[in-house]
């Protein structure tokens, strides 16, 4: 096989030239472009990794904050619940107090009304009793009821013990030697002198008596000396009656 050495050398030269040209215009550029792209991709991956790490950190931070907020919310909720409970208790207490006040006021009003009612009842009952007793006494006996009342009053004066007599005597002396006798009816002159006589005999001598006609002294007579009093009237009987009535009414109110 014939080999043309000039062509042989020319082909070697051609190949080396081609190698050089391709290295310059092809491999170098293409490899550089690929390497650049790889570097860019690697950089992007690094950036992505960094971003991912950052995102993870952010997420962790967010999670922590969320947890903190939840805890804070829990605390605030507890505080709010406690405050609400306290406020509710306070309001309940206030309401209870108001209710108690209203109840007390109502009870006081009720008591006042009860008192007024019983006062009125007592007055009416006394008058009725007085009228009934006088009628009964006048029907049953010849002497009037006033005389019997005065007699009972005198009997009480005479029945005073020494201590009580002494106190009244001192009271008469301290009160300017003035004695007031109040009665729901008029006292006749003989009866007045009878009263003075019993007083002089039982207590003391030097005093002046003033007789007053006072309808409020229910069917009775009383002696007033500087804060001391000797009396007989239907009041005490009536008070017993009123107490009995009060007790009965309260029992009925509780039962209702």
């Amino acid at each position: 096989m014939h080999i043309d050495w000039f062509v042989f050398l020319a082909q070697i030269f051609n190949f080396l030239l081609l190698m050089y040209l391709l290295k310059r215009f092809l491999y170098g550029r293409i490899i550089k472009a690929m390497d650049d792209r790889e570097a860019k991709i690697a950089r992007r991956f690094e950036d992505a990794d960094a971003l991912q790490a950052k995102a993870r950190e952010e997420a962790q931070l967010y999670e922590q904050r969320n947890q903190m907020l939840n805890e804070k919310k829990e605390v605030m909720l507890n505080e709010a619940t406690m405050a609400a409970d306290a406020k509710r208790k306070e309001l309940m207490e206030k309401v209870r107090e108001e209710v108690d006040t209203v109840k007390t006021r109502w009870q006081e009003m009720l008591l006042r009304e009860q008192g007024a009612f019983f006062y009125d009842l007592r007055q009416r009952a006394a008058k009725q009793l007085y009228a009934t007793a006088r009628k009964a006494l006048s029907d049953l006996a010849d002497e009037e009821l006033e005389d019997r009342i005065i007699e009972e009053f005198l009997r009480r004066l005479q029945a005073l013990d020494a201590e009580k007599s002494k106190q009244i005597r001192q009271a008469i002396t301290g009160g300017g030697n003035r004695v007031t006798v109040q009665s729901a009816f008029g006292i006749s002159a003989p009866r007045q002198s009878q009263i003075e006589e019993v007083l002089k005999k039982q207590i003391t001598n030097g005093f002046t008596i003033r007789y007053l006609h006072e309808p409020d002294v229910v069917s009775g007579i009383e002696l007033r000396v500087n804060g001391h009093k000797i009396a007989w009237s239907l009041n005490e009987y009536l008070e017993t009656l009123v107490e009995s009535l009060t007790e009965t009414l309260q029992k009925e109110a509780h039962a209702a």
């Binding site: 096989m1 014939h2 080999i3 043309d4 000039f6 062509v7 042989f8 050398l9 020319a10 082909q11 070697i12 051609n14 190949f15 080396l16 030239l17 081609l18 190698m19 050089y20 040209l21 391709l22 290295k23 215009f25 092809l26 491999y27 550029r29 293409i30 490899i31 550089k32 472009a33 690929m34 650049d36 792209r37 860019k40």
Partner: protein, 241 residues
């Protein structure tokens, strides 16, 4: 002018112009054509290269080709593949384009000339020691010829020469014979059958280009790995001492 006839075994015989010992034949002419296509195409395509994600189809094509070449080299050398890409890549691209252009009527592959294949094989023959020495030094490279004993030196030399000859003749034989077969078939059975043979010829051309480039790399890699082994042994001795 009839480019290739049966009595002309090589395109070297078709001389276009000559002066003294300087001759311009079809082989050189078509070599220049292939070179012009490769270089011109490279310049055109790599003129607007992009390192972004969106690149042109031609750039994609070239990147794929270069990546395959780099990958093949990397499998053998393990490292520094880019160092050998110009030689191996140029061998593959030149032979491949020369062989594929045979499909163009009137074109004669420069690789069907034994002068061309011999020139290419000579380049490989020179490149093997060049890369070996440039990497590990002259001494280590020469010592390799005397392994395991100095008696093997002639065999090593014969091996180098014979594989260069094998490279030359393999490529030349395949391409030249294929062209001759096509020529004969055209004369005997025209129409369909030569077309099938032409397609087969394209496949053979690409495979031959691949074989030539891969064998060249194997020779270079064997020289490099032998040098690496020597280095490894030296280091091992040094460490045990």
């Amino acid at each position: 002018m009839e480019v290739v006839s049966l009595n002309q075994i090589s395109p070297d015989q078709v001389i276009i112009w000559s002066w003294n010992f300087i001759t311009l034949n079809v082989t050189i002419l078509y070599t220049w054509l292939v070179m012009a296509i490769l270089v011109g195409g490279s310049i055109l395509i790599t003129r607007n290269l992009s390192s972004e994600m969106n690149v042109s189809r031609w750039q994609h094509f070239l990147e794929v080709v270069i990546s395959i070449i780099r990958g093949e080299i990397s499998e053998m050398t393990k490292k520094g593949a880019d160092h050998y890409v110009p030689l191996v890549g140029t061998l593959f691209l030149f032979i491949c384009v020369s062989n594929v252009l045979v499909i163009v009527p009137g074109f004669v592959a420069p690789t069907s000339s034994m002068t061309t294949t011999a020139a290419l094989a000579t380049c490989v023959f020179i490149a093997v020691p060049f890369y070996g020495i440039s990497r590990n030094g002259v001494l280590h490279y020469v010592k390799e010829y005397f392994q395991p004993t100095f008696i093997f030196f002639p065999f090593h030399v014969m091996g180098e020469l014979s594989r260069t000859l094998a490279l030359t003749v393999r490529l030349f034989g395949n391409i030249m014979s294929h062209e001759k077969v096509i020529g004969i078939l055209l004369a005997v059975t025209p129409f369909l059958f030569p077309v099938v043979m032409q397609i087969l010829g394209l496949l053979i051309g690409v495979i031959q280009a691949y074989i030539f480039a891969i064998l060249s790399m194997v020779y270079i890699a064997s020289a490099l790995s032998a040098e690496d082994e020597v280095h490894a042994e030296v280091k091992k001795e040094g460490s045990t001492a």
